[in-house]
Symmetry: D3
Subunit: 328 residues, 6 copies
């Protein structure tokens, strides 16, 4: 079983443990007469670090696949201010040697408790067709299994198995005071929108070994339309599902990104759709900022690294450091 984790390693440490292969490529030595070495990124549930297999690289490269698990003996070195693992021995691990849960970051929350919370929210839905529709999804073990593995996004927020469940449960919590404050807002519709707006995520990504990667469908259709279709197909199984209700619900899914340039198929044209969009933004963006700030937290740092997607550094609040961002 795995006893050493990336997050705990320090320069000088001797390592003997299991890791997941996030990336691998043969690269030449700088002195080209020496041939090639193997460059790796090794990961476990606590993080990832670069690794190098020097002379044996070409010999072992063929046995090691992206997304697979390896057993590694080596030593941690400091390199350009970061750590890397110099590998003395490496081999593919057998499935019985490790626990996959040690090797993949997953939600730190209790998945079954989150499913319970969703079940409870469904029970509170008074509109019978919406309740039945939700039961049809969340009572389906195949869907629940997919959900347990699904991230909410690939990289922006909740980007790990179980992340999608967290996103749903958190939005339910955030919706509570909003519903109290907004009597015009249909609680059943909002609950349904929260629980169904991202169901397309389960078809947008797939496992490649232990890695999460986008599917072709995810890239050619996108989770918004994938989700709309999953919902439409389930609705079609109910003979008497009211057409206007279906239309309102589908509109919420199709518009939950808020603006065409952010990926919305339609801009929100109902109160419930507007509420869903802004709850989604609130939960997604606050999670993203919290994660960036968390990753950037090191002793003596006042600012995170520049984040190219967000186009800024975040202020952490201790001593100032320069960032690469432009302040002109």
């Amino acid at each position: 079983m795995k006893s050493q984790f990336v997050a705990d390693l320090n320069p000088g440490d001797a390592v003997l443990s299991f890791f997941r292969v996030r990336f691998q490529r043969l690269e030449p030595f700088r002195d080209p007469s020496k041939g090639q070495y193997l460059s790796l990124i090794l990961a476990d549930r606590t993080g990832e670090m670069p690794a190098r297999v020097w002379e044996q690289g070409p010999a072992v490269a063929g046995q090691i696949a992206r997304g697979s698990v390896v057993k590694v003996r080596g030593k941690v070195e400091a390199y350009r201010g970061r750590q890397q693992l110099i590998v003395a021995r490496i081999r593919p691990a057998e499935e019985e040697e490790y626990d996959p849960a040690d090797l993949v970051r997953t939600s730190e929350r209790d998945v079954e408790a989150m499913l319970d919370a969703i079940r409870e929210a469904i029970t509170a839905v008074a509109e019978p067709h919406l309740q039945s529709l939700l039961h049809s999804f969340f009572g389906d073990e195949e869907f629940r299994a997919a959900l347990r593995q699904a991230p909410a996004t690939l990289r922006l927020h909740h980007a790990y198995p179980g992340g999608l469940l967290e996103h749903m449960v958190d939005m339910l919590a955030l919706a509570c005071p909003l519903l109290s404050l907004t009597p015009e807002l249909d609680a059943d519709l909002l609950t349904a929108g929260i629980l169904l707006h991202d169901v397309g995520r389960v078809a947008e990504f797939r496992l490649s070994g232990l890695d999460i990667v986008p599917t072709d469908e995810g890239r050619l259709v996108g989770h918004v339309v994938l989700g709309d279709r999953m919902v439409s197909e389930r609705i079609a199984q109910f003979a008497d599902f009211p057409e206007p209700l279906a239309l309102r619900l589908r509109h919420m899914i199709l518009s939950h990104h808020g603006r065409a340039e952010w990926g919305a198929v339609q801009p929100p044209r109902t109160l419930a759709a507007a509420a869903l969009h802004h709850l989604n933004e609130l939960n997604g963006q606050v999670s993203r900022f919290a994660a960036l700030a968390g990753e950037g937290r090191e002793p003596g740092r006042a600012w995170t690294d520049y984040d190219p997607r967000l186009r800024r550094s975040l202020y952490l609040g201790r001593e100032p450091l320069d960032a690469e961002e432009d302040t002109d």
Copy 2:
């Protein structure tokens, strides 16, 4: 039967004919003590003109609905450089009194010949699943009936019943040399994309009397996703339709507007999707410019009126006139 048409009327003409009501509203006389008159826009297949019912307006207003047909006696007058019809008598028409074809602008082309051309194009599709899918649509009389009535857009181009058929047939013609020039381009897929990319239009609009108006579904879902779903549902009826082929076809539908800000759910990520998008632009935009230039053609005019959607006037090429467009 109808013997006088809007396009032929001149100031001073006495009128006794049938028209479709495009718009109606009671408006007060400028001297408010005189009460209200009825303001109308009357239309037939050749065009439309404003009309006024003076004193009797309030009395007849209740009998006249938007989209309905009326019989009118009156006289044409010039008003602000345009013509208007001063109505002496007006009453709802009976269905047997008129031929709807006289009252609605439709394609000037032979609808059945266009359907034949499509049938021929389908026959030429070699890939059997695509051919079956196309047969499923175009062999379905209900779909064909909807198609005969469908415009391609509400206002931009081919904006009349039969316009959607014209758009399809024209794109097939435009695709011929493109396929010759581009051996990498899959002809069957492009034909299928041309014939199916806008099928959602038949659910985006509906008749309100004889008028075409958007449906709720058209505004809350949009023709792109409506069409994707219609195609997906037909595909689901074929047990063996290859999944990758379905994906390519759906991607073409979802990306045919080219850019998110122009309404594309995804940007084109295949050669066939890019070809479909640019054929659609070519046919749509050239039709739009041709229509604008045609409407603006009057003796002595070098420029059309300013078109607020296009944000420009078009040059017609005779003597110059000022336009409202800014040239600073």
Copy 3:
């Protein structure tokens, strides 16, 4: 005292009541030989309606100022599908004749209860400097008085006296689950940000009679910088207010609009600033959609009027009507 309210009037009603003048202008009769009449918009706390003073218009125009209160005798007529009040007699009202509360729309919520809720939230702030700062504002009767009168925005949401208080109190409620879900988020800082981000609103608007209009300062400086300065000046009165804390708080105010093109002086660069921005969006936008949907609610209408700021109609969900919005 006022016994008839705009919201209760119907065509044919005889009116004898007090109204606030929202707008007034002399306009010529359509028959120009008849001279001018007086066009008014009259308002009370329940809404507003157009009014006309025919022959006496020029004579009374000089006595009636925008923002003042008048006593009116007249009759309600239908005009272009809306109502207007035909005025037989009109005169300026004396202050003792009416209750200003009848004439201005204000928050329907209990202002003192909202102030209590804020006081409670301040008590819960553990960080002593922030608590003191908040006391300095909310314990200041002059500030509280301004707050009771302040709208949150001129037209977009909470656009009436007391609206700013509603916006604050609602955001406090919305922040509760967010804080539970986000342990990294500093609750004291977020509370302070919620209560102070819009304090500049009290200087951005002023009363012109009973009307709310922007101040010169509001238009030349803007509520964001006005608020930042009000907060900075109060902070300067505390000898020991920690500089980094002040910086974080000011950054929240300066960035609460989220993007430069939406009016943010800086984009949010801290977790608390991001949270504040998205809570503000959630509360502001949901309120705006709720208000638009509420105003548009009439029997038989499925869609609101086209809203030029939002660039769309909202779906209300009964029978469809055409909207002016483009669906091409």
Copy 4:
């Protein structure tokens, strides 16, 4: 000769004077049984005002062309807070009856003095080819004649005959300190760029009677390319004009609008082109603001009307008034 000017007229004044027809159209009386009247905009060098010819309108309309001059007897009335001229008699004026200089706004500066200043600037150009090129333009009486009549823009700034000369001369003055401060900047090239960047304006506009209107060439080619071609053709007449020098000069003309979306064919890629662009902006925009502020100056007004091109009102600085601009 003309003795009364628009800028001096007040309500109640009896008028007997000459005016230029900026606009004319027959419009119906509001009581449609009364037929049509003639709506005019009459102008002279001091401004413009609306005018109405009631009963005689149709009879005189045919004699009055846009851009022509008329003799008018009538009376000034107040209408919607503005003045309008009620015409009792109107007839076309004979050319010998009026001085065109009274009827068209022109530069208030001495045109010949401006041409002298340009001649002086040309004399100071040391580079012989540039000097010859400039002489070729400004020594050409036909070009000078066109220049005397040319505005710099149709509406934005210097929008009157002689305005282009003002723009050139002002930019020469503004360039002086810039050249002192920037030794790397080629003074001869900058002078040439200032004097030639807008020469295309003389072909962009034409006189329609006494009115300035855009030409077809102005709208289909634009002043930037028109100017580039005028300069290129003159250069082609010099056998030995250095090609790199021609290229630099043409680049300045083609890039003087700075950005593609502002009308630049290329972005500035030389120091001299960047300097030309920003001098052009400085002079053009400050002139535009000065003109807007000047027009808006009325007793008691703190803000100008909302300017739709600039999308704002300007602050004039006295008592505040509401503007239509949004401050939310």
Copy 5:
């Protein structure tokens, strides 16, 4: 003569052949005490590959110029998943040793046949002035010579000598059905626009040795204005060329990029200009997608590399691979 081509080389191959130098630079060995080696990119008509001259690098660097041809002896090695050529001997080639056609990618189509097709299209032009103008260009051997060498763009599509001819001939073919479908469209004008819109390309690029690079004129003026001027100058040689016709034609050239931000000097304001723009887009973009998809085609790849200009990967349609593109 050349017997080995880049496209046919495999790791381990011994090489003795001629190549064009696309790029060269001395770089230090990673062990800096060993001095520098020469890094090259060598190309022929079938593709390009990196090459290294180890110890002799500094000695031979001076003899080898970018765009020149060299004779090379060496061996192919695999490096980072790509091939590179390790050079044992290298020397400049004599002109008589190689055929330039082996060393530069050119159109695979018969250049003279394309010129014939153009000649035929010109013969079909009925409008005599346009026909004469086209003869003036395409009957000019100097222009034809430039045309044979000209690419349509530097990198986006048809980016090789003869590419411009392909672009013209292909657009003629694409225009055929468009003209049949659009009777309002002037065939002669469209033919002239197709054949002349990109003539400026011959001045936008030049040969640097055997390489194509942009000229200064190309970067400071651009092919749009260069082409407009070439056409204007030829038109000026015809005494009787109708001015309105010249204007229409020039407008087509100046507007063929469609939008200011895409490089259009004016937006299309005529039907023919709109048609030209969309034909240009159709041919250019479909060619670009076809080329990208072709380059990306390797066994087992479902997606091309991320293309930074297009900001996406293209789907090729076999097994999925991750791409670097974001799908969040």
Copy 6:
């Protein structure tokens, strides 16, 4: 004292001199068994160059801090077409060994003369409150000391100590002809705006050793609001400073970037604010282009390197070279 400067060094030179450390990091040798070396960027007032400390790197790294000064013995080598300094010995310098003025680029102009010019401009301000306010700033030795050290921007223009003073003095010079040409423009207000619009820059940056880096305040508040507050606080010390004057001045500071997306808090809404913005652009952009062109000037180069902020290369005007910029 320092006798050798970066700008004068050539390959092969022996170096013994003092330099400022702009950057330092330990990096591994390419042959990883050899451990790490120290990579440096060394600077003085004439420029900067990379340096390497091979074997001794790890031993000396701890003694050398960014922003500190070192004494170096070594030799200049050519590397990838640039020079680098191979360090034989390096040690921290004592403060008395060097003159900081040798080590930091500063304005080449006489700082006291610039302050005199400002004093003179203040004397010419007739409005007494503005004059007093300006005296309050520029008569304050602490502010003057900060000003002597302040750059105008971090990288775009005037990016060195004293640069802010240059920017102020240059704008005063550029304003002279503008004021002559624009009688409506308030000279006192413009002078005050020029001298105060960028005072926030002194708080936006700080020294880190001898390096200029942004402060936390600079990044969380920004120089626009920092400057507004500095001015507001000084104004508050004058009991009788007219409120409207303060408002106009503050508006100039808050709007001097011209557009929200360029960093303006408000768009300019007064003539003086518009003038300030365009003077700022003129001086800033021309300085930026002059600096880029100056840095790019090397024998035989016609184009500068591609500038990623400006998104273009600049033309210098000799023989053409390819640039990386796209010309398609």
